[in-house]
């Protein structure tokens, strides 16, 4: 299998509390985003953070796995909607840690029923490379709802 490489640059100026950085997607050019510590641990005020980028990564990784699993089961999706919530918390004696990533998926997939959709979601979680990694240190939960099924 080919090795796929993706690269990002960040330029950070100044101290942590007063400084700021800009994260640039070097591989794709798809984004160029300011980050600060205040917007990471307090209100985001329109700025992204490492945890939000991980939420976007996890949701995207999971949705591609789920589309793949549903197709493999012979019920390719019409539409999938995935929400991901990443939580960073202060763990006593250790400091800030990413403690959980909660995925919830809704979708329509002709021919699938609630059980097969749930099974595909479980397989998608097992197959998504980011889920596999983050499970070593955080809790991953998956909630899956097939729409239009009674």
């Amino acid at each position: 299998m080919p090795r796929i490489v993706r690269e990002v640059d960040i330029a950070w100026e100044g101290t942590l509390s007063r400084g700021a950085g800009v994260v640039r997607a070097a591989s794709s050019g798809a984004f160029d985003l300011p980050v600060t510590i205040a917007s990471r641990v307090a209100e985001p005020e329109g700025k992204t953070s490492p945890e939000e980028l991980l939420a976007a990564a996890h949701a995207t990784c999971f949705v591609t796995s789920l589309a793949g699993e549903l197709a493999k089961a012979g019920t390719p999706p019409e539409h999938l909607d995935v929400h991901c919530l990443v939580t960073m918390d202060e763990v006593e004696g250790i400091g800030h840690r990413i403690v959980s990533s909660a995925l919830s998926a809704r979708g329509t997939a002709p021919g699938a029923d609630a059980a097969s959709f749930a099974q595909a979601a479980e397989a998608a979680d097992a197959g998504c490379p980011f889920s596999a990694l983050i499970k070593a240190s955080a809790t991953v939960t998956v909630e899956a709802t097939l729409e239009g099924s009674a």
């Binding site: 980028l53 990784c61 980011f130």
Partner: protein
């Protein structure tokens, strides 16, 4: 505690269909198109989970290093960090390479290297990615 969210949609099969990072909680980015081909072959201007992981890691590492340098009494003027994530379909994420060049008045190479190593080990995203088989660090003063 900090909660951060993202919403992603997908239409159609994995290979022929496509997705979109519709929005994130902060509103800082989105919509961004994603496809399997852009993830597994040429990016073609589209982001991917691996690029987003690289972004998260580079930002987290830079913040941790900035904090560490200030605590050591030598705040950085500027840090230039890059993170490169390697993904092998079917195997997973096999490597993250961090590279940093720092402009830090009053600090020598050895102390900077130690601070960078501590940031690599301590930052929350490094901890979350601890299961990646290989995380490398190339740190020097600019």
């Amino acid at each position: 505690m900090a909660d951060r969210t993202a919403n992603v949609t997908w239409s159609g099969s994995l290979i022929e269909g496509g997705g979109r990072i519709e929005s994130v909680g902060s509103g800082a980015f989105g919509p961004l198109e994603v496809t399997w081909a852009a993830r597994a072959e040429e990016s073609d201007g589209r982001t991917s989970p691996e690029e987003l992981i690289a972004a998260a890691h580079a930002a987290c590492f830079s913040m941790a290093l900035s904090s560490g340098l200030a605590k050591a009494g030598a705040p950085a003027d500027r840090l230039d960090t890059s993170a490169t994530v390697t993904f092998v379909p079917g195997t997973g994420i096999t490597k993250v390479a961090l590279r940093v060049r720092g402009s830090v008045p009053g600090m020598d190479e050895a102390a900077f290297g130690d601070a960078a190593q501590a940031a690599k080990e301590g930052c929350p995203v490094s901890q979350a990615l601890a299961a990646v088989p290989e995380i490398t660090l190339d740190a020097s003063l600019s």
